[in-house]
């Protein structure tokens, strides 16, 4: 009956209790949402490249190699010679190898030279393959396949011409050799979306008349002449390697790292991704801390609400006391009340979270390539909810102890 009266009392203050519950619900939804985005982002990040066993490049740092080869951030300090590339490709434990040649750009997007094998072996988000949304994968020397973001940002369609600029953010363009968009890839949520892909030969072709980063004055080889030339690449920026058997990964990595003709570096993408996440992960930890503070603020708000309700409820407490309730009963009623509010808030927060997820999931996926799975709460989330309820009970002890003292001092006499 006391329980029923406690609920009736809560119900009588439905507006303030509702507001407090809503504040807690929103803070819990925010916290769990940030947590979801965090784990989702981490998973999406780790899913940027999958199925590749080793990334090979000139010797530098593993994070640097990962950044320029996969994320197209920063530049390679050095290239890998075509001979070394062929040496590695010829090894028996190499199942497949994909060359990557970077260095040119189109507008704000990087141009990547590669082979057909890239479309075959590049995998993201647990083994998904690149799909062409429109057009076909390039089959001509001057064909290009562009990522979804490139097409969306620059408004390109299949068969549109593209002029590639030499270097990055450069004014010298390879105007002699315009490219044609042959295909547009589907959105992947990976750096591929922001990449203009051409063949390795095309990279050579556009540099035919160039030397040391500048066009040789007066020379302009016609496209049909270039087509007749033997366009063997001089070097690659990096290579993606798949091994015959996973057991050979470490042996191959070691062999490449100890390659005597040229200083090379082979990295495990997963390890390098983790290393990189350790760097960018600080931001998400800060975000999580901020949303935890929001939960704390909401709980303190609840404490303040209970505090301010104490005065107007002095009469209520005096009645309980006059009927024989112990001060301890008053204390437990207030703690119970806070626990109920916190629990309702937490549950409502979970409901908000799932509603929010259901609404934003397709939007986040299509515009940010961030896939947030809708699944049953994880143990971690359950602990968050339990933690919020427990914290609610604990902070409510402050006003509850005050109420206890008041009810001891007032007894049943409140002359208000």
């Amino acid at each position: 009956m006391i329980l029923r009266l406690a609920f009736a009392s809560l119900f009588a203050r439905a507006l303030t209790v509702g507001m407090t519950t809503l504040a807690i619900a929103l803070s819990v939804a925010l916290f769990l949402g940030v947590e979801k985005v965090r784990t989702g982002a981490k998973a999406s990040f780790a899913d940027t490249i999958s199925g590749t066993d080793l990334i090979v490049g000139a010797r530098s740092g593993s994070v640097q190699l990962l950044l320029y080869s996969v994320f197209r951030i920063g530049n390679a300090t050095n290239n890998v010679t075509w001979e070394s590339y062929l040496d590695i490709a010829a090894r028996p434990d190499v199942d497949w190898i994909v060359p990557i040649s970077l260095g040119d750009s189109h507008r704000q997007f990087r141009v990547m030279g590669t082979s057909q094998a890239f479309f075959e072996h590049y995998r993201y988000r647990q083994g998904r393959q690149l799909q062409v949304a429109d057009g076909v994968i390039m089959d001509d020397l001057f064909d290009t396949v562009i990522g979804a973001d490139v097409a969306a940002t620059l408004g390109y369609n299949v068969d549109d011409p593209i002029i590639v600029a030499h270097g990055l953010a450069s004014f010298s363009e390879h105007k002699d050799q315009p490219f044609r968009v042959s295909g547009i890839l589907e959105k992947t949520g990976t750096p591929v979306d922001r990449t203009v892909i051409v063949s390795m030969e095309a990279i050579e072709a556009i540099h035919v008349d160039w030397q040391s980063g500048a066009q040789i004055p007066g020379r302009s080889t016609p496209a049909d002449v270039i087509r007749e030339m033997d366009l063997v690449p001089q070097a690659v920026t990096a290579a993606l390697v798949g091994v015959e058997s996973p057991l050979q990964t470490f042996a191959l990595q070691r062999a490449i790292n100890e390659y005597s003709q040229e200083p090379l570096l082979a990295i495990l993408p997963g390890v390098a991704l983790q290393e990189l996440w350790g760097i960018v992960g600080i931001a998400e930890t800060a975000l999580l801390a901020v949303s935890a503070m929001v939960v704390v603020t909401a709980l303190i708000g609840m404490m303040a609400t209970i505090f301010s309700s104490l005065n107007e409820r002095r009469r209520e407490m005096a009645i309980y006391r006059a009927m024989g309730a112990r001060p301890r009963t008053i204390l437990s009623m207030l703690v119970l009340e806070a626990t109920v509010i916190a629990a309702l808030g937490a549950l409502l927060g979970v409901v908000f979270l799932y509603i929010g997820l259901a609404i934003t999931q397709p939007i986040l996926d299509s515009s940010f390539g961030l896939w947030l799975p809708i699944e049953a709460p994880t143990m971690r989330e359950v602990w968050v909810i339990i933690g919020v309820v427990a914290a609610g009970a604990i902070v409510s002890l402050v006003p509850a102890i005050r109420a206890y003292r008041m009810s001891v001092a007032d007894g049943m006499m409140v002359n208000t």
């Binding site: 009392s9 006391r321 006059a322 024989g324 112990r326 001060p327 006499m413």
Partner: protein, 231 residues
């Protein structure tokens, strides 16, 4: 000799923080079935006296005995239980939990008093009987307390004090919020009920006109001495 339901002897109480301000009651006895009116102005120590009787405060000296149990020797929890079992309390006004139903309010003391609960028998039936006896329509039993008029609320408070037949009813100016007609009707009901169950009544008021209906009228100044600094 009739059994004393309430007996205070040589009770002294110092208000905490005001060492030179104290209340002293040499003797106050209420016998079984007796109705006593305690007259006193505000500031005469009435509230303190009621708190001493109800055991929400403890005297510095002397003894307070309710239904044969010495309150002063009990722990806080035991005093709360004794109050729940033996005393029905009626305030001036705002007696009820506004969000609870009439029935919830009437049954509330039984929650803290298992013996009284047993005495009440079937609580729901008892609530109905009391409401009928006090002229409350049955329809209000499950209504929220704050939907009732002040007069009805005071009658619910009486029903709550009476349920489970505690030997002593303490009423603190229960009629002050009522108009003259309602006052008379309210007292009629109260006296009928206390007489029917041989319940003792100690009512505090500042209004001497009520006195003629009680077995005994005591003036606060005759039984209690308030000592102030410098006097």
């Amino acid at each position: 000799m009739t059994q004393a339901v309430l007996k205070l002897s040589d009770v002294g109480y110092h208000w905490p923080g005001r060492s030179a301000f104290a209340l002293h009651v040499a003797d106050l006895t209420v016998s079984k079935g007796e109705t006593v009116l305690l007259l006193g102005e505000s500031g005469s120590g009435k509230s303190t006296l009621l708190s001493l009787i109800c055991g929400t405060i403890l005297p510095d000296q002397g003894s307070v005995s309710v239904a044969g149990t010495n309150v002063t020797t009990l722990s806080g929890a035991a005093r709360d239980k004794l109050r729940a079992e033996q005393i029905g309390v009626i305030f001036q006004q705002f007696n009820l939990l506004p969000f609870g139903t009439v029935s919830d309010n009437i049954m509330l003391p039984l929650r803290f008093a298992p013996e009284r609960r047993k005495r009440a028998g079937d609580a729901a039936t008892e609530v109905e009987n009391l409401c009928t006896a006090l002229g409350l329509p049955r329809s209000v039993i499950h209504a929220k307390a704050n939907a009732l008029s002040v007069g009805q609320q005071q009658r619910v408070a009486v029903a709550r004090a009476l349920i489970g037949q505690p030997p002593l009813i303490i009423a603190d100016e229960p009629t002050s919020a009522l108009d003259a007609n309602s006052q008379a009707a309210f007292l009629d009901l109260l006296f009928t009920q206390t007489a029917a169950h041989d319940t003792s009544l100690l009512m505090v008021s500042h209004d001497p006109r009520l006195g003629e209906r009680f077995d005994r009228v005591i003036r606060m100044e005759d039984i209690a001495v308030i000592e102030r600094a410098g006097e």
